[in-house]
Amino acid sequence: MYERKSFPHYIFVFLAPAVIIYTIFMVYPLLNSLRMSFYTVTATNQEVFAGLDNYVKLFTNSNFAPRFFGALKNNFIFFAIHMVVQNSIALMLAALISNEKRRGANFYRTVYFMPTVLSVVIIGFIWNLILNPLWGVSKSILEVANLGFLFKPWLGLPTTALPTVALISVWQFIGIPMILFYAALIAIPEELMEAATVDGATAWGVFWQIKFPLIMPTVGIVSILTFVGNFNAFDLIYTMKGANAGPDFATDIMGTFFYRTFFGQQLQLGDVSMGSTVAAMMFLIILTGVLLYTFVWQRNVQNIEM
């Protein structure tokens, strides 16, 4: 009865506000930003079509290329640290909590998610203080374990700043993969594990041979969420290291590079076209990840399930 030929007015009323706001404030600006990456702006504020000039400039100009490739490389390191450290610890914690005999599971679940709900700005400052040699909290803790000699101003050294910032981000966001793995693990039917346990499999064996293959779809979701989140990250590094992502651009990632290019820094003026070009590159990178996930990963994982 609700399949009509003419478009009923109520469907229009239901959909219009969402479609209008979403189009005006999300899709249109995004497309406009992409378009701007093919234009330059003259001194008199006129837009002139420039073809791929901005991209060539980004890849070859000595003001942009080193910063772009540096940020890109740092962003991949940032992502790799999240994939390895965050997602494997999250998987371990979820596996431990999801055991139906585990006491205090609700408590752990709630606590592990707690840093995730806090603002990145707060997290950044908290860790700035904890790692601050002036306060000496982290040094005292290491000294308790007789490891005081390990203490360094990690955030200030070019070699350790990026891993340190990445680990702080891991500490904050571990709640998300943890809860997604947890949800997938408790959804596995009990009978599957019982059969295996009767066969004499150890908990370790049951996990890797039965549970892990079953949560492969979640592994994919977690990976793509991590990828998108990391290549869109900005707040933590801006808060802890400023827009210049010091020391010596050691913590510079695509988000901070985009911000600097668009808004300028110290002596350099902001550049709308180059900012758009950097955003367009971020868009391309994220889109590539999403497409790989949708068409390669999802298809193959579904094949295994069949």
Partner: protein, 291 residues
């Protein structure tokens, strides 16, 4: 103490019992260690915010006592910052965006899940692009748009961007929940002559658990966002808590009492909301996976 029933069978040997004990104790130990890792930094900040400066540095690991207790940090924050303004701004932006996202999102989700029309699949796909593509990538365009609309340094500008940002996920989740609402119920109402708007009103209470969870997931990123307040509304009058705290901390970086107090003040509201809703939030994620 619990009495163990004597069990003569060989499997209950001491070795077996030790193994069973370790199988429960080692995971507990790991979970507790991570609990300390997760809570320790937060705890250090809150605890030290109530101490005099001398003791923040002298004895950072001890709880405040009557001799070390001091509220000077809170006094500085309240006197020297516009915390009240920031807080009101955050509240207005977050709540307005939340209510409008839920209303507009529910309407769209209802249309997509309820009616068959030509452009349904296309619109559903179109609206879900925003789930994976972050709205930040359109910042250049958004700023241009806001300059054009004269919405720079207004809360309305922020609200509109946050609604656009939150709609895709809201519509995606709500329409999957709405598809599960039994058809008979809606058809019975239709036979009674209810309008389609009335039926929308009937469906909403049935998806309330989903609305609650989406509400929290929408609210937290908006409350915590630094990017858009920094770019679209950086003035003192329109600064949100996140931006205000960021700027305040930048200015007062050497005043440890004020820094610790402002961090604590910024954390408390969101932690309280989280602790109230955490059960519902986590249950909704796990229920989503079960369906």
């Amino acid at each position: 103490m619990m009495k163990t029933t004597p069990n003569p069978s060989h499997t209950e040997s001491i070795g077996y019992r030790i193994r069973r004990f370790l199988e429960a104790a080692i995971p507990q130990l790991i979970l507790m260690v991570y609990t300390v890792i997760a809570l320790f930094p937060i705890f250090m900040i809150v605890m030290n915010s109530f101490k005099a400066k001398k003791y923040i540095f002298g004895s950072p690991f001890s709880l405040p006592t009557p001799t070390t207790f001091d509220l000077i940090g809170y006094k500085t924050v309240i006197e020297r910052s516009n915390f009240g303004t920031y807080f009101t701004n955050s509240l207005i932006v977050t709540l307005t965006s939340l209510v409008l996202t839920l209303l507009i999102g529910a309407m769209a989700a209802f249309a997509l899940s309820e009616y068959k029309f030509k452009t349904n699949t296309f619109l559903a796909l179109y609206l879900s692009i925003g789930i994976m593509i972050p709205i930040r990538l359109g910042t250049v365009g958004i700023l241009k748009l806001m300059v054009g609309f004269n919405l720079v340094n207004t809360l309305l500008g922020l609200i509109l961007v946050y609604i656009a940002q939150s709609l895709p996920m809201t519509i995606f989740i709500l329409s999957s929940f709405m598809r599960q609402v039994p058809k008979e119920l809606k058809d019975a109402a239709r036979i009674d002559g209810a309008s389609e708007y009335r039926i929308f009103g009937l469906v909403i209470p049935l998806v309330r658990p989903a609305i609650g969870a989406i509400g929290i997931f929408t609210m937290i990123p908006i409350w915590n966002d630094l990017w858009f307040p920094l770019i679209l509304a950086p003035s003192q009058k329109t600064a949100t808590v996140t931006l205000g705290v960021q700027q305040f901390l930048g200015q007062f970086v050497s005043d440890w009492n004020a820094v610790l107090a402002s961090l604590t003040l910024a954390m408390i509201p969101i932690l309280i909301i989280y602790l109230i809703f955490s059960k519902q939030m986590i249950r909704s994620i796990t229920a989503g996976a079960l369906k």
